[in-house]
Amino acid sequence: MAAPWQEVVKKIDDYRWEIPQTYKTGMLVPGLIFASQSMLNHIWEEQVFQQVANVAFLPGIVGRSLAMPDIHWGYGFPIGGVAATRIKDGVVSPGGVGFDINCGVRLLRTNLTEDEIRPKIGQLIAELFANIPSGVGSTGRIRVSEKELVEVLIKGSRWAVEKGYGEARDITVTEESGCIKGANPEKVSSKVKKRGIPQLGTLGAGNHFLEIEVVDEIYDKDVATAMGIDDLGQVLILIHTGSRGFGHQVCTDYVALLGESVKKYGISLPDRQLACAPVQSPEGQDYLAAMSCAANYAWTNRQCITHWTRESFIKVLGKSRSELGLEQIYDVAHNIAKIEEYTIDGKKHTLCVHRKGATRAFPAGHPDIPDIYRNIGQPVLIPGDMGRCSYVALGTEMAMKESFGSTCHGAGRVQSRAAARRALRGADVARELTARGITVKTGSMGSLAEEASGAYKDVTEVVDVTDKAGISRKVAKAIPVGVIKG
């Protein structure tokens, strides 16, 4: 029997499936799903087709409403969705970024091998867990005043480095140099600030984690070497967190505010969570200014955590920073809206690119990527689910042509948190991870069960689709040996 989606989608090739504009009245452009055929059954059941179609209602949307292969059901926008709107007559939607603004990933390299850290992994994980606040309701070691918070919002990572958290070089290998322009602290409410002050320098809970991992495969030796990934067995460190309650409150405030803009500007939407305002309107500009504050907060957050990670390694292994390596490879945002330039049908357009659970993937030569990667392309960091594996990839020209310089961001959930809890107990998950040689420390066993591998798509399948479709290229794969989790 034909699968139900077969009547809806038009197959372009093995990894591209178009949702025609006629699928739902009101769509302004078609949808495009990057996926393998075997993924489509689940994507259909998840009602993601509906959500991709709903995003295509946004005024000023260009190209297609995109879904990366890790797509899953979100609120309003699907997670793994990319939508680009014209800044001259299009809209910006806080729901197209999500609550965890600039949730993202930072990757550090080391000069260490798996053999060197194995005997100390328990100590390393315990030290990291003690040094990096995590878990529901966790508060930070950093106490900023409201005045200092304003500086964080304006300066981003640079604030942290000036305060001694990390190194100047870290900033050069961070998307937007860890500070997106246009942040205006006056555009965030006092509630946002109150939520943000105690949480600076915290990992948080949910799917956020810090992982010590080991290089397991290298697909492109030259590119890997350029990133400082030299050999199999080399130790890397992955930090996955975002803007915490600060970003959540920015989104909460602006979804409510822009709900009113929808009426004011006469915009018709199929889902209230898609609330939006014209990019050029005062409301749209205010959101972008507030979102930029949250993005800078998140980069500062990851910068502080990077510093404590280095301190922890230095302390436990008794070696210097230069002996250990611990250089930053890159830092990317997974939830953000950016103003970027694209050429469509030979014409240059300035667009507002919403990435909600998607990674920027700029090719070699793009002016917005750091000098040291200018000749190879932007590193793309794709964490898998806790305990499986993660990938380093590279941005491509194809991404510029087809996906507004974007690719996937991770594994993508297939099982609800409640179902994951029912299927497994946290203690069982911990035991299984231990059996596979992975040391875990968590504040909540329940949250460990929710993040079990079975709750996610296989990240390898996701990354293979983006590689075969050409919107990013695989460079290396790493497997975890130790995890701390909120």
Binding site: H72, G74, G137, K191, G245, A256, V414, R417, A418
Partner: protein, 138 residues
């Protein structure tokens, strides 16, 4: 009314359906459902209260606003609420006093962090008593 609320599975997030004889009770049960996601509210005592007053364009927005105010107080003041006294509720206005206590990690086991209440699949249905549905981002 057989049950006050139920939790609805959703792939990335968690939804709740709350019931009541009227909208006031349904809003109260929605708040209890929220804090039941965060911790076991039977372990929470009523030692302090906070007042919330808010205005929103319609009942649906009022429900989202109400729950987001509670999430805000949880995040900033670390208060877990267990009892809610909604003293005024119109189509566009809500006044409430909520009772609970500050998180005490020795007796409160924290389960899930809730980022926000969303407008996705949001319903306030007053056809037969009152039934409300909200999806949380967690």
């Amino acid at each position: 009314m057989e049950k006050d609320f139920e939790v609805v599975d959703h792939t990335a997030d968690v939804g709740i359906i709350a019931y009541g004889v009227d909208i006031r009770q349904a809003f109260t049960n929605a708040a209890r459902a929220l804090f039941s996601l965060i911790t076991n509210i039977d372990d929470v005592e009523e030692v302090l209260y906070r007042d919330i007053e808010l205005v929103a364009p319609d009942e649906e927005s009022l429900l989202v606003g109400w729950l987001n105010e509670l999430i805000y107080l949880f995040d900033v003041e670390n208060i877990i609420f267990k009892r809610f006294d909604i003293t005024e509720l119109s189509n566009t206005q809500l006044k409430a006093r909520s009772y609970g206590e500050k998180i005490d990690r020795s007796k409160h086991k924290l389960k899930t962090g809730v980022k926000a209440a969303t407008y996705h699949m949001l319903t306030v249905d007053k056809a037969n008593g009152c039934k409300v549905q909200v999806l949380f981002d967690i």
